[in-house]
Amino acid sequence: MIELDSQLISKSNTGNQVAVSGNAALARGLIESSVKVVTSYPGTPCAEVLENLIPFGKQYGIYIEWSVNEKVAFEVAASAAMAGIRSAFITKHAGMNWASDSLMAMSYAGVKSGMVIISADDPGALNSPIEQDTRFYARMAEILGLDPASAQEAKDMVVSAFEISEKLELPVFIRPSNRILYGRSSLSLGKIQQSKNKAEFYKDPSRWIIAGKNAVCRHQWLHRQQQQLRMIVEQGPFNKLEMKGDEKYGIITTGICYYYVKDALQSLDIENKIAILKLGYFNPLPEDMIRQILQVVEEVVVVEELEPFIEEGVKKVASELKKGIKIFGKLNGYFPETGFYETEMIEETIKKRWNFPSKKSLSRDTIKRELKDLKLAPYQQITFCPGCPHRAALLVLKRAIAKIKGDFIITTDIGCYIIGVFPPLSLLDTVFCMGASIGVACGFYQAGLKQNLIATIGDSTFLHAGIPALINCCYTGVDILVYILDNRTVAMTGLQPHPGLGLTAQAEKTKVIDIENIVKSCGVDYVRVIDQFNLKEAEDVLTDVLKMKGQRVVIARHTCAQVINKSIEQNKQQTRAYKVNPEKCKYCRRCIESLGCPAMYVKDNKVAINEFLCGNCGLCVQVCTQGAIIYSAREKNA
């Protein structure tokens, strides 16, 4: 869990220096801009923008919502801004795909008050399933796009974006990346503005009915706005040209890569020899700025993570200059087209391309070889938390499958349960994106595959994207078991609530949207709720259900171990942990091998349990045939 900086950004005054994460800096930017409606669906690496905002949302009169999915979240924020209230929509890259449908139509209509879209990208897929470049959405929607190089810039861009958005009546797109969001830096705080905007909706069919002729008219309006956008990107404060005018070589870069470039040049001791253009705006591209540097240098290196978005633009500008400038980047293999960047990689390319001597090259190869001999690899394994309900749910499924000796394909979805793909469970066959488990199973069925189909999906994921797919199953008569792993939270992104829990983002009581009732009304043939920690009973239910035909849903309901830990911590409860009685342990290793619980280890040819890690779930007790695992008191967790 990332440590939150709410205290620092809410209490400190204008001009103060604090060290906060990029996510907190964005949250501070929203407060300074006097935003009133903020929506999102939990997704890393940017879930912490809302997490940082929530504790003092009320104090600043901000309505904060974890919506059921990103499409709805976008619509809530956009329409608030249409009604004259400043709003923000925060999403991770993949969530932008969901919201894009609404974005395309609503950018024709525009907004009345400021609206900011923050879409976090994840080069290297460090904190999410895929790496995708969401800058293309700003280009498609023809709206202003900004790329911050630091937390400070991220905050300042939010403030500036609201002003521009309000002036041009268009949403503004900010695309921060993982390295800024998950990391702290010095931030100097700005003034918190007071908003005088009032909610009002002006009826105007020519603007708000985006269809037919209106759509074309509004599209023309959007194109007319481009003129102003082009001026803003050339003159705005977030580009930086560091050039004396006699440089032979230049670098064009954007976002966090700007600082990698700075470090690389410093390390090579050539800081004054290379011109740098750092772009803060990517849509529309500041072509005049690019022209300025290209007119001076003979060769230019383009440094950006993910797609060659800027590089392609630079190529276009260069071709118009008729000067024969050499451009080096991803397109001609000088930089990787995937993954995240680091200083060393940039240093290496610059050194090689322009023949600068390197200062250091020391390595510890012998030690690295010895390390390989030690075989440390198994420790790197990813496993479920101790006490995780998914471990139990997938274990009973695995046992039930083994019992009926059937042939199965198991599709899964986005959530902690994808860990079930690793040993010892090794159970899952496909994972793509939100809701795809059920849709993919439908396609396998229609393709005529002989295997039985199981789709596993989480509670929040089901509400987000699973419902239409389940309706589709029932409508088209797919034989399927949908196994809903209901851990009562959005776990992977930091334990956020969802509509099934009766709690709002701001921790107020609300209606519980009952998953079981939804499932029933989708038209399924069978539905049953189980507690998977009751191994025997859960296994029996699943064994029966696997033999049936039709659309069957089993909901395995048990709270996430991290949620339980959090409440124990908050209430300063005394807890207990399990312990192995070495007298009784026959060292059959059944428990360790079937569960892969990180709290269990081997000591002196006996199994032992790490009392700090044990999640107190009792699973191992049920797996042990010797009665060797017993309860014991645990130290206080203060």
């Binding site: 990332i2 060290a19 990391g183 702290r184 600082y259 390390s267 060393e344 990813i382």
Partner: protein
């Protein structure tokens, strides 16, 4: 260009290294320095976390380049040795918690001796000291204390204390300070003997 201090912290999630990075970053700002950190985490799955911390007059990138890390602090030696071999500078210092969670069974000796081959080391049993200070979840503060007790500590203890007061509830501050003190004393004792 004046020197930038470069520190790496690693540990398992329950060790809470990100809390320490938060405190170091705020303490650096309290000393009017520029600071950037990069946090590698895969929350909330049981996994290894790493944090790069850089502070000084002017800091560009949050990432430390391989071979540049000046102090490498690890709470889980087994998972950290490879990272240390990559990042530690030739004259760097490693502060190592000797009570491993990942391999309490097998002997840590071969791993610890590899650390010694890499460079200077300070070793302490952070879990044991944390237990003495109140509870095992303070092991991260013990390691912070060890950093402050090392030769040429990068930040002043007053500023660390101020940073802790900013983010910890009042009833927990005393225990944190005690853990820091235990870490410091243990290092000072080692360098005297």
């Amino acid at each position: 260009m004046p020197k930038v201090r470069e520190i790496i912290l690693t540990g398992l999630r329950f060790h809470g290294i990100l809390k320490i990075s938060q405190i170091l970053a705020q303490a650096a700002v309290n000393e009017r320095m520029d600071v950037k950190t990069a946090e590698f985490t895969n929350e909330p799955i049981m996994s290894i976390e790493m944090c790069h911390i850089r502070f000084g007059d002017k800091v560009y990138s949050p990432l430390i380049s391989k071979g540049n890390c000046e102090v490498f602090i690890c709470l889980e030696p087994v998972s950290a040795i490879e990272v240390a071999a990559d990042y530690l500078s030739m004259d760097g210092l490693m502060i190592i918690n000797t009570s491993s969670t990942l391999s309490p069974a097998t002997s840590l000796e071969p791993v610890l001796s590899l650390f010694d081959q890499l460079g200077r080391t300070i070793k302490l049993d952070a879990l044991e000291l944390a237990r003495k200070a109140g509870n095992v979840y303070l092991a991260n503060f013990v390691m912070l204390g060890a950093l402050l007790g090392s030769k040429d500590p990068p930040l002043k203890i007053e500023n660390i204390t101020r940073a802790i007061k900013n983010i910890k509830p009042p009833d927990e501050i005393q225990a944190c300070l005690k853990a820091i003190d235990f870490g410091m004393q243990s290092v000072i004792k080692q360098s005297n003997s």
